[in-house]
């Protein structure tokens, strides 16, 4: 594991079709804990996470993890907003990242059993993944991300399709993961969840960081009027 997992965003701008969808962003990410990214639809949350992960084409600026991009990515895992299922069984989906990393069969099987049980999919291991329900797909995507013990975990609305009980389970799982040293960077539209998990909060608006602070200060006294309105449940656009 790389010691320092802090990332620096320098003058990052992402443009698509002449429109700026992110940036300019200058920001130093905290080195540990859980960062929650919030903001209205289209604010650029997904774009920011992908930028940090190094899978978004930047129009300007750079992201610096202190190591070459592919080395950094090797230590990271990303759960996409709409889960991507390989057209294989649940088991094969879980094995996939391990076999890419050249893990042996025995070890892979142990880990698959462990994570499938942990995430509640143990009974479905031999079902085709594309036919799982929306929530089950999200759980599978999460387990597949965690199975390589990433140093950094990106989660793009991991609980969007989950019921109350599953959300509670996932949240306690994420707290465990975080305690064991994994850095979490996550978006959510659930402000309650944000309060429960956040170490610090990034509030994005129209592609820019509108407000930033530790969870305590941000939720108690956000510094920008837009953030105040957003937390009050007003419509911010």
């Amino acid at each position: 594991m790389v010691e320092n997992m802090a990332a620096r965003l320098q003058d990052v701008v992402v443009q698509r079709r002449g429109k700026t969808i992110l940036g300019p962003v200058n920001h130093e990410m905290a080195p540990d804990g859980c960062t929650i990214v919030i903001g209205p639809n289209g604010a650029g949350k997904t774009t920011l996470l992908k930028t940090l992960h190094g899978v978004e084409r930047l129009s300007q600026g750079q992201v610096d993890w202190g190591v070459p991009e592919h080395v950094a990515r090797q230590q990271q895992a990303y759960v996409f907003q709409s889960p991507i299922m390989l057209r294989r069984s649940v088991r094969q989906n879980l094995i996939f990242p391990l076999s890419l990393a050249g893990k042996g069969r025995a070890e892979a099987n142990d880990r698959v059993t462990y994570w499938a049980t942990k995430i509640g999919l143990a009974k479905m291991l031999d079902q085709p993944a594309p036919r799982l329900s929306g929530g089950e797909k999200q759980k599978l995507a999460l387990a597949r991300a965690l199975i390589r013990d990433p140093a950094v975990l990106f989660l793009d609305e991991p609980c969007a399709n989950l019921d109350g009980r599953s959300i509670r389970e996932i949240e306690s799982l994420l707290l465990d993961v975080q305690r064991s040293g994994t850095r979490i960077i996550m978006t959510t539209h659930d402000l309650g969840q944000a309060r429960r998990l956040a170490g610090d909060v990034l509030f994005l608006l129209r592609g820019q960081i509108n407000d930033y602070g530790s969870a305590q200060t941000f939720f108690a006294a956000p510094s920008s009027p837009e953030a105040v309105a957003f937390l009050n449940g007003d419509i911010v656009e």
């Binding site: 992960h53 899978v55 592919h70 990515r73 090797q74 990271q76 895992a77 990303y78 996409f80 991507i84 390989l86 057209r87 294989r88 069984s89 996939f96 990242p97 890419l100 085709p128 594309p130 036919r131």
Partner: protein
Amino acid sequence: MTDIWSGLQAAFWLLVTFDRDLVEITLRSLQVSLSALVIASIIALPLGTWLAIRRFRFRRAVIAVLNALMGLPPVVVGLIVYLLLSRSGPFGVLGLLFTPTAMIIAQVIIITPLIASITHQAMRELWAEYHDLLISLNTSNWQRIKTLIFDGRRALLTASLAGFGRAIGEVGAIMIVGGNIDHATRVLTTAIALETGKGDFALALGLGFVLIGLALVVNFGIHVLSRTEREGRW
């Protein structure tokens, strides 16, 4: 009407007795078309996959050429291969004209664009689906291709079957480059054309049944494959 009826009866008889000529011609047809299929697949499957996942300067041009080649009339392919292989042509010294090899060459040219094009389409869809995940997992190019080929194997088999169907039923090109020589280059389609011309409907119909049977098997195979794909059975 009686002609056709007695032809049908005779054809049926040829089939159930495994008539020597009929079996020989059928086997040669299979040999030529399966050889063409293997060679064309070796070229077209990786090419189609590669076109789907790599962005390079002339990608669009290559795809356009591929689609244009798919529409080539087989007779013209036959003519060109004939000119290349004829004694005064650039490859004349090889003495390949009027051999099964010449027929295989012509069929490879005809079905490679078809297989590559179907492959490209299926793989492009799959790649769009998998793209973010495979990039995120830091996969090498080779790992990406392996994953796509493995998970798209049904689509690839469908592409190959379509190519085989086209090859086995093709007549114009192989007639020109093969010459329809008895016991040497006579295959199902050219034999049917010849026997029909001669008025020997028995053999023509018998061969026709074999050809229809093969076409049905191929299309049934494609149907089953695409259904298991849709229903997500593995």
